[in-house]
């Protein structure tokens, strides 16, 4: 039983920032000089030449392009992103998927691999069986195929590495904390697999065997997961939450560092805020040494 | 100020005269021979009369009488759920429980109050596990239960009555549900308490004022054939062993009521066959 008093809490229990940050809140003037291009999260003041921020976040300057990266945001999809999503509705010939985007994303029946052959025409039988393939609540991994003008995404799972996900745990972090990298699927040496969705949904599951398990998720393994694997998954989950709570950008190495740093504690101790902070700062220190 | 003009005007605050008079019955709840005021043993249930099919226009209905406690229940539907937001793929059940305005010592309001709302939820929770919701997808079954006279253990009576009404409606069920109440006063546990036994804080009038004796009230809903408890609601002080003991006694009594339900439903089926 762990009850803590709020007064014994260290105020602002996040880590010290790495370097000087240019933080703005909506309406703040970023620059009054001309010649800059306005990117996401900024707007040009009417009449005046001031470039102002429209969201709270960090100013990001690439040559002449100024944009503000919000710290807390919905997911802005880009074509080719790997995402994790949850089916929220089955409609005619399409599924609506929650991807933490502003609007629900769409997965067309024609953009999925169905059992029995990678590519085939979708029959009416398939249309009627849609709920049997993916029903409300199911979790999928997918890739962003297209971004519509209103910002909603269309997804596809036309590769065997995508599809319905089986047993495991979903952790939700801010999309800005997931780095865009070459690969988002990781088989970690500690004995679990990790999918870091660009949309901030992170999936942790028992190790995926690349040869036998890539069925597009239509064969579900509901056998009990071994106790050891389960502990690894729980530990990873708590480590990721700890890192995310302290605003550390997530990718496989830093998660492994956190995992190693957490070894001296039991899994459930990792839920306590002071230990979370310790893990986060240890992992960050180690990252900085590496650089 | 919003006023309710559907009824005759009555003074805003009235109290029943019993609260002003000094008279209290002097007999003790349990006498030296261990007999209660109505002559029952402590673990004895009141004689129970149960009838299925009391309201002819309802899909199913039932009436239960346990001495002074009289409860009637009606079941309608299942009918289509019209509101889109209320939609679920499995069946739904709605339950409304009401004390008739004249049923208790103090007059009840005709608008459902918080106590009735909570009892409605409890009864729903007690009955729902017994009903096969998969048999009526997208539709809703409605159960209405009214206490005509509250002579104690109204909740238990309502549960039993509601389940018989559902069975009488021909709904598919895993089992019938039987309710049973117990009143614990100090060391004494009284099965199927009357209103007197429910409200008194101690066995004898003399130490009514003292708060020393522990007291509790427990109602249990049992599905007897599959031996599953669908609901428990308890208040008042019980030790862990006391709680276990009370639970066991309630279950034993509920099992004894099973033949009554069986007989009543048998009769109802026979009556339908004859027609």
């Amino acid at each position: 039983m762990d009850i803590k008093l709020a007064s014994s809490r260290v105020l602002r229990d996040s880590l010290e920032p790495v370097g000087p940050l240019h933080l703005v809140s909506p309406g703040d003037v970023i620059t009054s000089e001309s010649g800059f291009m306005r990117g996401h999260g900024t707007f040009m003041e009417e009449g005046g030449g001031n470039l102002k921020a429209s969201v709270a976040g960090m100013v990001d300057r690439v040559n002449k392009l100024i944009s503000v990266k919000p710290l807390k945001t919905r997911y802005n999809g880009e074509v080719g992103d790997v995402i994790i999503g949850r089916i929220v509705e089955v409609q005619q010939r399409r599924w609506k998927v929650d991807t933490y985007s502003r609007l629900n994303s769409i997965l067309m029946l024609s953009s999925v691999n169905l059992p029995g052959g990678e590519l085939r025409r979708k029959t009416e039988e398939d249309e009627r069986m849609m709920r049997d393939y993916l029903s409300e609540g199911d979790i999928i991994s997918a890739e962003v195929q297209n971004v519509f003008s209103d910002g909603s995404l269309s997804l596809h799972t036309r590769s065997l590495k995508y599809g319905k996900l089986g047993q495991g745990t979903l952790v939700q972090v801010s999309p800005s904390l997931v780095k865009r990298r070459k690969t988002h699927f990781h088989n970690l040496p500690c004995g679990a697999s990790l999918i870091l969705g660009n949309n901030g949904y992170i999936w942790i599951c028992p190790t995926i065997n690349e040869d036998t398990d890539q069925t597009g998720g239509f064969v579900q393994n509901l056998e009990p997961v071994a106790g050891g694997d389960r502990e690894v998954i729980a530990r990873l989950r708590n480590c990721i939450t700890a890192l995310a709570n302290h605003g550390i950008v997530l990718f496989d190495t830093v998660i492994l560092y956190a995992y190693e740093a957490s070894q001296k504690y039991s899994v459930k101790e990792l839920l306590q805020s002071d230990i979370m902070k310790e893990i986060a700062s240890l992992s960050r220190q180690r990252m900085e040494q590496e650089l | 100020m919003p006023v309710d003009n559907r009824r005759l005007w009555t003074p805003e605050e009235t109290i029943p005269p019993e609260f002003i008079t000094k008279y209290r019955p002097t007999t003790e709840l349990v006498n030296q021979n261990g007999k209660r005021r109505d002559g029952r043993e402590a673990n004895q249930h009141r004689p129970t009369y149960l009838k299925a099919g009391a309201i002819s226009q309802a899909k199913g209905s039932a009436y239960i009488e346990m001495a002074d406690t009289k409860v009637i229940a009606a079941v309608y539907g299942p009918r289509e759920v019209m509101k889109r937001e209320d939609f679920t793929m499995s069946g739904q059940v709605k339950c409304v429980f009401k004390f008739a305005t004249f049923s208790c010592k103090t007059r009840q309001k005709h608008i459902e109050d918080d106590r009735e709302k909570e009892l409605s939820m409890t009864i729903l929770e007690a009955l729902k596990p017994a009903i096969r919701l998969d048999k009526f997808p997208k539709a809703r079954l409605e159960i209405f239960i009214t206490v005509l006279q509250d002579g104690g253990s109204a909740l238990a009576a309502a549960i039993t009555c509601g389940s018989v009404a559902v069975a009488d409606a021909g709904m598919e069920m895993y089992d019938v549900v039987i309710g049973c109440s117990l009143r614990q006063i100090g060391e004494r546990s009284l099965i199927d308490p009357t209103t007197d036994e429910e409200s008194h804080r101690s066995l004898s009038q003399s130490d009514e004022k003292s708060n020393e004796t522990s007291q509790a009230m427990m109602t249990v809903a049992l599905m007897p054939s599959i031996n599953q408890v669908s609901s428990i609601i308890q208040k008042g002080e019980l030790s862990i062993d006391g709680a276990k003991q009370a639970l066991k006694q309630c279950l034993d009594t509920a099992r004894k009521l099973h033949p009554v339900i069986k007989q009543c439903l048998n009769k109802a089926v026979e009556a339908k066959l004859k027609r």
Binding site: E124, R128 | A52, K59, G77, P78, R79, E80, R84, F87, M89, A130, R132, K135, F136, P137, K138, A139, A167, D168, A169, G170, M171, E172, M173, Y174, D175, V176, M223, P224, S225, I226, I261, K262, L265, N266, A268, V269, E270, K272, L273, R275
Partner: protein
């Protein structure tokens, strides 16, 4: 063997599932035992070489549209994509409260399904026979009339007379001899007895 012809109440254990006994209507199976799930008369029937134990109520059963059942419905609304109707009876029993059903244009007939013109198939007020295709979504059951025996059975002409079918897609008014298009059902005798 369980005793025959006796009254059961919900939750009553009837028998074990062995000896080729199968839990039929009005019963359910749990841990190798068959239990009754309604209050009614216990019956036995042979189906596919297996003995089905059933418990039946004499009073009309609680019927709800189920997949594969034939229902009678009244058309309430027609638009180019679909036709909405109110299901008024299921197989032989009429419902006390109607359920909403919908026939999508591709489910009207089995041939040339993409050329169906809904206004030439149904009009509001028609009584139709249809089969339940699926439980559908929140709104309604999905029905089909893509069988010869399914479609419009009773339709009134503009003058208000009951029309007579003259072909699979036309009906004629006996008063004015005006022809109207419908997806006509080839009513079969067993359906007539079924639907009274």
């Amino acid at each position: 063997m369980p005793t025959e012809e006796c009254i059961r109440i919900p939750g009553e254990r009837i028998c074990r599932t062995d000896k080729g006994l199968v839990a039929g209507r009005g019963t359910y199976e749990c841990n190798g035992q068959i239990y009754s799930s309604v209050a009614g008369m216990q019956l036995k029937s042979d189906k596919d070489g297996k003995v089905h134990i059933e418990v039946q109520r004499e009073m009309k059963q609680n019927v709800l549209p189920e997949i594969g059942m034939i229902v009678t419905a009244k058309v309430t609304n027609v638009n180019p994509r679909q036709c909405k109707c109110a299901i008024i009876s299921v197989e032989t029993t009429s419902l006390s409260d109607p359920f909403r059903g919908v026939i999508r244009s591709e489910d009207v007939r089995s041939t040339e399904r993409d050329k169906v013109e809904m206004y030439k198939c149904f009009k509001p007020g028609d009584v139709i026979l249809a089969r339940v295709l699926s439980l559908g979504d929140a709104q309604s059951y999905i029905l089909t009339t893509a069988e010869n025996e399914l479609g419009v059975v009773i339709a009134l002409s503009e003058s208000g007379a009951t029309m007579v079918p003259i072909s699979w897609n036309e009906m004629q008014c006996p008063a004015t001899y005006a022809k109207e298009y419908r997806k006509v059902a080839k009513v079969q005798s067993d359906h007539i007895t079924q639907n009274g």
